[in-house]
């Protein structure tokens, strides 16, 4: 059995979380609150070190006053705390949502639409590979038919959409199996930690 305090803490917290498999209980609640509290404290420190210090405190120290603009917007967000000043937060929120929407739309179009279209329009593979290319084309058109909202799923459109949903479900099945496999390996790693690093009943500690 381990003599390290760290390992004991990790093992006991792991067991507290695993106790949730039975039902909600004070041990799980303790781990939950500890986790949320530690995460909040940790993230506050990370935000201070990685965001505030390099982007605001250091530039202000060098005499660059530009960071005062985001600082003011940040303070305006806090205006929500009082009824009288709550309208100030709307300016900051509008700026934030506007900026992010402006960034998101072209980036989304490039990564999600043009990149996929470029792949879908590649020349067909020679020989038997043409079957793959044909499947990609059929999958593309039928899944697109499923996601067409301006017409009811009836007739040829409905039939295409039904084929499309089969393509989607096959893809989901493959993704599900792959991810479950990854989760099982995470569980194995945790059990290995308990049995090897903590209890020492497995070799290799």
């Amino acid at each position: 059995m381990s003599h390290s305090v760290d390992t004991w803490i990790m093992a006991l917290l792991t067991l507290c979380v695993f106790s949730f498999l039975y039902r909600d209980n004070p041990f799980y609640r303790f781990a939950e609150h500890l986790f949320v509290g530690a995460a909040a404290g940790y993230l506050l420190a990370v935000q201070y070190q990685n965001v505030l210090v390099p982007n605001m405190i250091r530039p202000l120290g060098r005499g660059n006053l530009l960071p005062l603009v985001p600082l003011a917007l940040g303070i305006m967000l806090l205006g929500r705390l009082a009824e009288k000043t709550s309208s100030a937060s709307r300016w900051a929120l509008a700026f934030y949502v506007g900026i992010y929407s402006g960034i998101a739309v072209p980036a989304y179009m490039q990564a999600q639409i043009f990149a996929q279209l470029a792949d879908a329009t590649k020349p067909w593979q020679p020989g038997w590979g043409a079957i793959n290319s044909a499947l990609i084309l059929i999958g593309f058109l039928t899944v697109l038919a499923y996601f067409f909202f301006s017409a009811p799923h009836r007739g040829l459109h409905g039939a295409s959409a039904r084929v499309g949903i089969w393509f989607l479900m096959v893809a989901f099945g493959a993704s599900f199996g792959y991810t479950v496999m990854a989760r099982v390996s995470l569980l194995i790693a945790r059990v290995q930690f308990l049995l090897r690093d903590w209890l020492g009943v497995l070799p290799g500690a």
């Binding site: 039902r23 490039q110 043009f114 067409f148």
Partner: protein, 265 residues
Amino acid sequence: MDEALDVRWFDPNRINLLVGLSLFILFLFVNLRRARRAPSGLYIRTLPALQALDEAIGRATEMGRPVLYLPGLGDMSEVGTLAAVTISSRVARRVADMGCGLLVPCYDPVVAVLIDSATREAYTQAGRLDSYRSGTVQYVAAAQFAYVAAVTGLMLRERPAANVYMGSWYAESLFLAETGNETGAIQIAGCDQVTQLPFFVCSCDYTLLGEELYAASAYLGREPVQLATITAQDWAKILAAIVVVAAVVATFFGYTDIDKLLKTS
């Protein structure tokens, strides 16, 4: 040494993106005009998951339990989160109309502020601002599994009758949806992350797949701008299908460079 910033106003390698966006904006304006002239003229097909939303909120009201609305783990740079914020307003309006409780634990503090604002607005529109409890929308933790731990605990303690998951989800999707399933809540999910959709499909009663999430707010609100956006997207899909089929036909005639026209830097 810092890499020099690209200070050009226009990147010629992305002209195809400009053309695509311009076409989409054109489709949008045409449909906006159509929607303003006759809003009933723009059709959106039925989304069963959203039809079930009323049923779920009604069930929660009858059981005297709250509705749990989870807006995902994305920040405001993600389109899924923008949709989740819009849908939250619709859900809050129905909840306010029916008079049941609402819980919205958030991962991102800015998203929490926005949803709080949208929810207050919805309660005001319903004439029920007095029943809006401060703390209905709350920031929980911006660490993925700390958020999971807090929300799963909340599900078991508060026993919401309906769980609504909307937005961008990652590895936590199955943890939350499975716990929600065990509590016996009606579960409705909408997610634009392909890798997480299988988990919602398995563990929820209804799932909005990918782009259905974006169509959901238009379906719920029936506002001309949103209806026009969905129709414009459908026109863009028709154009995309035509481009792909044309590219395939063109390759059979020896022209094989269409895919290069769509590549962006």
